[in-house]
Assembly symmetry: C2
Homo-oligomer: 245 residues x 2
């Protein structure tokens, strides 16, 4: 049996023009592509390629399946939105590797970076992440919500800009209001906020607003939220954080 | 005069296979490319394209020059290493825009994201930024060094992973030792550290070590330093942070 391989590839936030050539090459050489249904839907079918779409919250079983395919000699790619290492499939892959048979650790495994949503959102708005910043996953699926609020308070104390992934879901509609109250108390109502919805897709909508003006309902799971530092400001239609912050 | 344009484009950390198609398209349409000498050296010369390499620490005058060229009808691209919005040229561009003539704000300006060094470094090492993390510029060129140490302490208190840009220079050789002492006090000596030097180039070297074992001399300005959270761990040759942190 010829050796297989497993690649976790970042396909960016939406636009094919943001997919790197090394990711395109990995997809062109793949025998099997796995991933969350809407991400696999972005991959063109062709002879010799098997597509394995799976549901959200199936990350660990998807990772195990990909490792089994690679161990069986297949050239397997897991597609991940944005960058696979930022709140995405790479960590799930290593969790599966850690709990799996030791021989999996000898597999040819590589992670290919992609344009993560916060960087596409920041670029669309200007340069709000132009100085020190934090990336925080607001979902409490896998951590206590108190830890989310603690990290926001510490980031505000350090005057970091902040990028929030998974800001709001139907399962926990009240939590974003708590986030907003914490931010207003720590940063003041006039702090700039960028909302970037469906970034790099035809539905992209970017808004520069303030904590005072932001209504929780303006944010959904397709929205990237960036909160500026105390130095973040507007210039024309843009928002940016200067380098001396 | 036909209207000009100004694009700030991220050319990734080194490998051309990490340059997005939208950045390649902008470069193909450019009449003028500006940037730091080694970045402009990556752009192939061609008829109709004027290359404008400039020195390090010339960011503001480079940005003004690019705005003047765009105002004169040229299709101007500033190339930036990694992602232009992360400790790179986008913020300098908006500083120049803010202090320049008001008519510059009507120019066709866009920022195109790129693969920033910390994401390429994380991918090469596994997934150390797989949960909440901070990006901190250790250079004190434009901020007091005490603020660097304060942010590191707060990031440690929040148990964020941390990615450090510009960790060490010949002008301030002692400061990285202070950073290391602060990290050891806040995180303990056994905390995992990833060093990724010249990531995505033929000279790439990735090391997974601990704060105890890390010598300041192992780090230079081409090294990306990633400090794990308390949950970051090894699996085989990789280091990763699980999703439940």
């Amino acid at each position: 049996m010829t050796p297989g391989s497993l690649t976790v590839a970042g396909i960016g936030p939406g636009s094919d023009a943001m997919i790197t050539p090394e990711v395109s090459a990995a997809l062109a050489a793949a025998t099997d592509v796995l991933g969350y249904i809407p991400y696999v839907a972005r991959i063109a079918p062709r002879d010799g390629l098997i597509l394995h779409p799976s549901d959200n919250r199936e990350e660990l079983s998807r990772a195990r399946h990909a490792l089994e395919l690679a161990a069986a000699g297949r050239h397997t790619v897991i597609v991940s939105s944005g960058d696979p290492g930022v709140f995405a499939m790479a960590s799930a892959l290593f969790e599966a590797l850690e709990s799996g048979p030791p021989e999996w650790q000898a597999l040819d495994i590589s992670i290919l970076p992609g344009i993560t949503a916060m960087l596409a959102a920041a670029a669309a708005a200007g340069a709000p992440l132009g100085h020190d910043f934090c990336a925080i996953n607001l979902s409490d699926n896998l951590k206590p919500f108190d830890l989310v609020l603690k990290r926001i308070r510490l980031a505000a104390e350090g005057d970091f800009a902040m990028a929030f992934y998974n800001p709001r879901s139907r399962a926990r509609p009240g939590q974003f209001a708590d986030v907003l109250a914490t931010l207003r108390a720590a940063c003041g109502a006039e702090r700039l906020v960028i909302l970037a919805r469906a970034v790099s897709t035809p539905e992209q909508a970017v808004t520069v607003t303030t904590l005072a003006e932001l209504a929780p309902g303006a944010v959904d799971m397709r929205t990237m939220v960036i909160v500026g530092s105390s130095r973040t400001r507007r210039v024309g239609r843009f928002a940016y954080t200067p380098r001396s912050a």
